[in-house]
Amino acid sequence: MTEDAPLIEAAGLHTYYGASHILHGIDLSIAAGESVSLLGRNGMGKTTTIRSILGLTPPRQGTVRIRGRDMTGAEPHRIAQMGLGLVPEGRGIFPNLSVRENLVMAARPAVDGVETWTLPRICDLFPPLAERLDNMGNQLSGGEQQMLSVGRALMTNPDVLILDEATEGLAPLIRRDIWAVIRRIKDAGIATLVVDKDLDTLLDVCDRCVILAKGQVAWAGTAADLRTNPDIHRRYLGV
């Protein structure tokens, strides 16, 4: 591990689901503390990129380096242990565990051994969860499930938090709460990789944007650049 290497550095990823070629050479890197958004229409390979980085669907070509170490094709739990926390699409709460158990089972010190995020801090961050610690995972509203999913990922004390459609299907007020938390996470120095449909908020929160189209990087640049370029919105993101 080298200290100044990016936390995540994916180069030339080619990923397949069976015979279908989904990613055609994706490059993506995230430095410590940086906030990157992954944009693109549905089916362009955003979730597949995340799955490739995490080793859940290993790429057939290309390399994934975490903290400078080649982790291509490594087992998903080893990659996760290097400080990558995932808030998956669809939340992925364990319905058969209580809220407390969902959180506590994920608890792990950070790669540098520090335990910043503990159960009391998560309760502090998400007061509704504090009132529901003994409820089972399937007894929560959609918004509470999303909070639990973010809280569970934070309990692993990650250096990068990957949020895949974290505000999908939530009421506007709860969406605002989740975004507020994402900002606080970013301010705490945790790097984030965010996939979301809410472009305005994304441009506000993130430093850099990467747009995918048909399994390739169609555009990459700073959020400020993208904001002043409505042409790019229309071409790659408009419906």
Binding site: P76, H77, G92, L97, S98, M105, R152
Partner: protein, 325 residues
């Protein structure tokens, strides 16, 4: 005890009922209840795999039988072995067998896991059938019951039916408490996570295969405890103890009793065992009646007999009857 208080009270009452039974029950039924309690331990061990880890094993009887064979083989003609030697050897032997079978099996899942565990169990079955040193199809007798003592001093005489009854009841309770403890511990949270969503659990940084293997070994070891008791009780073990029929029966106890509750599979063993006993006296076509019973439970009690108990508990105003946590 764990779980909400109406459930705890019900379970305590059930244990209390079992504890007074030998004084009021017919000796024939005392003997039968010992057998059912042993099957209860066996079924709980499978519930750890099926109901909590999400692994459906169709070869769980292998460990039940192997433990019995170990006891039969190591007991000398001259008299009972000390239980402090016999039990650890039987448990360690089954744990090693479970480690070997599990090491290969946990790499697969779903229908393949079912087939591979069945294949291993059938290998064990034919091994004992074909080796005359191990009694072949006739099986082996256990020369004497293990000796429970300290120094030359006897603490409990297992040859006495009542003593064996309480010994088994004690181990039934201990097994329940140990498994409930394991399930509440961080390890238990992880295996329950694996059951709900293995990929998610891996993405949280857990080597799920290793956890599944440990769960498999624990389940196999408790099945070994049941097999030890069965062989010691009947003083006999045969290849049918580890056949696929036996594996299928214990699977039925777990499913009909209620997966993922621990006490449900024990209930399943009792209900199935007692019905079997009743119908056997009534008609020679008792298997037909048992078949109707199984269909009825599957149709009307999707959560097994334990689900019915929980539903009754709720109807009386008790809290939600969650599985022991």
């Amino acid at each position: 005890m764990t779980g909400p208080w109406p459930l705890r009270l019900t379970l305590l009452a059930a244990v209390g009922g079992l504890a007074v039974f030998p004084w009021v029950g017919d000796p024939f039924y005392v003997e039968l209840v010992i057998h059912l309690m042993i099957l209860g331990i066996f079924a709980m061990s499978l519930d750890l795999l099926m109901g909590y880890t999400g692994l459906v094993s169709f070869g769980h009887a292998a460990f039940f039988g192997i433990s019995g064979y170990l006891l039969a083989l190591m007991t000398p003609e001259s008299g009972g072995l000390s239980i402090w030697l016999a039990l650890p050897v039987c448990l360690a032997g089954t744990a090693v067998a479970a480690l070997v079978v599990g090491w290969f099996s946990v790499r697969t899942s779903g229908i393949y896991f079912i087939m591979i565990t069945l294949a291993f169990a059938q290998m064990a079955f034919f091994f004992f059938v074909e080796h005359q040193d191990f009694g072949g199809t006739d099986g082996l007798f256990v020369a004497d019951k293990p000796f429970v003592g300290f120094g030359g001093w006897q603490l409990l005489d297992l040859r006495d039916e009542h003593s064996f009854y309480f010994f088994t009841l004690g181990l039934l309770v201990v097994t329940y408490l140990l498994l409930a403890m394991i399930l509440r511990a961080p390890f238990g949270q992880v295996i329950r996570g694996i059951r709900a969503n293995e990929a998610r659990t891996r993405a949280l940084g857990y080597p799920t295969q290793r956890y599944k293997l440990i769960s498999f070994v624990i389940a196999g070891t408790f099945a070994g405890l049941a097999g030890f008791l069965e062989a010691a009780h009947t003083e006999y073990v045969s290849p049918s103890h580890l056949g696929w029929h036996e594996s299928g029966l214990v699977l039925m106890y777990v499913i009909l009793g209620g997966m993922g509750t621990l006490y449900g599979p024990v209930l399943g063993a009792f209900v199935m065992g007692l019905l079997h006993d009743q119908f056997q006296d009534l008609t020679e076509h008792f298997n037909l009646v048992m078949g109707f019973f199984v269909i009825a439970v599957v149709l009307f009690l999707p959560d097994g007999v334990a689900g019915l108990v929980a539903r009754l508990g709720r109807a009386r105003g008790g809290g939600p009857a969650d599985p022991p946590r």
